[in-house]
Symmetry: C2
Subunit: 152 residues, 2 copies
């Protein structure tokens, strides 16, 4: 059994924005953007993408699945690292081209392949006409060389 | 004075992921994806995009600027509605193709053009093989017909 979604082009603007049909507006590459946040803290863990299959699998199994653009394939998050994500809630936005996925991060609690809790571990600041990054100090919860066998 | 960014193609993988150079990886359309969250609550308010000019203006002015893909132009958030966003922090992710913008939402506190605090006001659930949406109950803080002069 696979989950089916409504066709956004068959909906009116009002139905798309205020209705109960889930009609994800996949882009030309067949993807929607997903913001994954930690349940409770609301911390943004990562930003990724889903195709229709990954979205359906995520809803069916309650475990986060994405589409890896770099590897060009379906990606069950944590398949290699053990850092799976249990879905608490899945929300879509007004025009249904983006998703917020609220999860409990399992394993060592590291959503990022660098071993940190979140991918967003650097803040930008401006000095003169140059923008630079500063590490916010998120610790590494695993060593990516041990988990992936290659440097992060 | 305009802020300049580093060229990501001139950086090593390690410099991109662990370094202090801010080298946004704009996509083929010249955009990075931006997740805007509310300071304090961490609530995800909206998902949008920035080109280099919007990113530089956001850093320079401390007020959120985006690139409107639907209108094809620079977009100072709140220009029409008054719902501007004061930047508290701007973070980038491991491979520098996404941004988390932490803001104080001004005005009536509505980041979404529908008048709600957040664009993510519907959650998905599955019944049988169909996914549907349920309103999470976020109230409208303004009437979009009054603010924009047209239905939302």
């Amino acid at each position: 059994m696979s989950i089916s979604f409504a066709d956004p082009t068959a909906l009116t603007h009002d139905q798309l924005e205020e209705g109960t049909d889930f009609a994800p507006r996949f882009d030309a590459a067949g993807l929607v953007t997903v913001v994954t946040v930690e349940a409770g803290s609301n911390d943004v863990l990562m930003l990724a993408h889903m195709n229709a299959e990954a979205l359906a699998l995520t809803l069916q199994t309650g475990v986060a699945h994405y589409w890896s653009r770099s590897r060009g394939k379906l990606w069950k998050k944590g398949e290699t690292s053990g850092e799976t994500q249990q879905v608490v809630e899945l929300r879509t936005d007004c025009d249904q081209d983006a998703i917020v996925l609220v999860v409990n991060q399992t394993g060592r609690g590291a959503a990022c392949h660098t071993g940190r809790k979140s991918c967003f571990y650097r803040r930008a600041s401006v000095s003169g006409d140059t923008a630079t990054l500063q590490d916010t100090g998120l610790p590494r919860l695993f060593d990516p060389r041990e988990v992936y066998g290659t440097p992060s």
